[in-house]
Symmetry: C2
Subunit: 253 residues, 2 copies
């Protein structure tokens, strides 16, 4: 694998994570339990779509075939997506959405923290910009996990159920492969396994305060970040997300 | 409006009803409560898709622009569909699906009965073929409505709720307009209002045996058969139904 091949894959992973999760979160628009949360979720989704533009824009440049961020977002099929499975899971209830967001935000914050010192200055710049937004997302999703986890009996039970459901998808984010090895050697991106202790510290502190228990099952769902196997949910998401560009090819604002 | 314009619209109405309801029913495939019902629903869906092929095939011929049944099914957007709203409503639970099927089957059986004597021989032929399938659908959905309506307290309550939800969509099937007037004059298709007494007789007998009560609200949801206003459900259905032809234009077996 050449460095550019690895770099392209890495940028797809970064961009697809924020694209797919951003789209998922946007599904809440107009449906949240209270107005404040509706706006907060829509803003979070917008931040992620904005970051997508940067990651996939750079991916298109690195690939060198003239594909824009929009082309990559709207004209690839499921098997070409490189997002981790966590990001494509259904929203479930509000608590499950926020638990998923918290787990992703915690990962993303330690990843972006590392990438700000990437030897690739373009990546470092994007990471620095995105990092500011993600710190805020993490603060917000963490606070909500604590508020609902350490809330009523019902909200606690729902958050524990969400954590039990989502936890087996956490491991994939730290499951490095040849792509990561090539980039780690060049100081471009980390071996994701190295990020795990910092993630565990952040997540452990919040979940403890939320009075929630990390499941001790070692099972890990994988297959998204290397495109080997996505869940059935991704295809359904793409039919809706890509509808306009598929039905009206080349449509612009 | 020319006769051919009216005929095209009428054929779209017939074909879109069976296409959209057929697609909806196919969503049950692999998810029904028991294997027997799963297979029965899949067969019903297939019959309706088969009828669609005939109606939309003839529609394409009448239009004369070279559009095939597939083109009409997969390459029109929501505003060009002419199905009644009843057919695009979500499946809900098994009982709701069967109640929707029963109401449509009852309409379709009296419509096809009339159309077998249409002055347009192509239409009469399609009606004769489809009629055999629909008699069986009606018998089956009617029996299920009776079995569940006059069943346990819980199944009765669910069927009554389904009827209450679906009944306001019944009126649209009999709501004639200029298209119908043009065709009725030529003996090609009926003024649908004339079909209502026979429909009411069929439906009334089954619902009475099912111990269900017809809601006495006069409200009628309209807008599907003239394409003025579909529900939000149609767009979501189309994103999934049309995905393949939109993503891979011209794909064939």
């Amino acid at each position: 694998m050449t460095k550019d091949d690895a770099l392209f894959q890495f940028l797809l992973r970064m961009g697809d994570n924020t694209l797919i999760l951003g789209h998922r979160v946007s599904e809440w628009c107009g449906h949240s339990p209270v107005l404040e949360e509706d706006i907060a979720l829509a803003n979070t989704a917008l931040d992620m779509i904005g970051q997508t533009q940067l990651w996939l824009g750079l991916a298109g440049e690195v690939e060198g075939n003239g594909r824009s961020a929009d082309d990559l977002a709207f004209l690839r099929d499921a098997w070409d997506f490189r997002n981790v499975l966590l990001t494509e899971l259904p929203n479930g209830d509000f608590g499950q959405t926020l638990m998923r967001q918290f787990l992703f935000d915690a990962f993303q914050s330690v990843m972006l923290n590392w990438l700000q010192d990437s030897s690739n200055t373009r990546i470092a710049e994007i990471a620095e910009k995105a990092s500011k937004e993600v710190s805020y997302h993490l603060e917000r999703s963490g606070d909500t996990v604590i508020g609902l986890g350490d809330g009523t009996e019902e909200s606690h039970a729902k958050m524990q159920a969400a954590l039990d459901y989502l936890w087996p998808y956490v491991g994939e984010m730290f499951d490095g492969d040849a792509v990561d090895a090539v980039l780690a050697k060049e100081g471009i991106a980390p071996d994701p396994a190295e990020l795990r202790p910092e993630f565990d510290a952040i997540v452990g502190a919040v979940l403890a305060e939320a009075t929630l228990t990390v499941p001790d099952s070692p099972f890990v769902h994988k297959g998204g970040r290397d495109g080997r196997m996505h869940t059935e949910h991704l295809g359904h998401l793409l039919t809706q997300m890509q509808w306009l560009q598929r039905a009206y090819p080349g449509a612009t604002w």
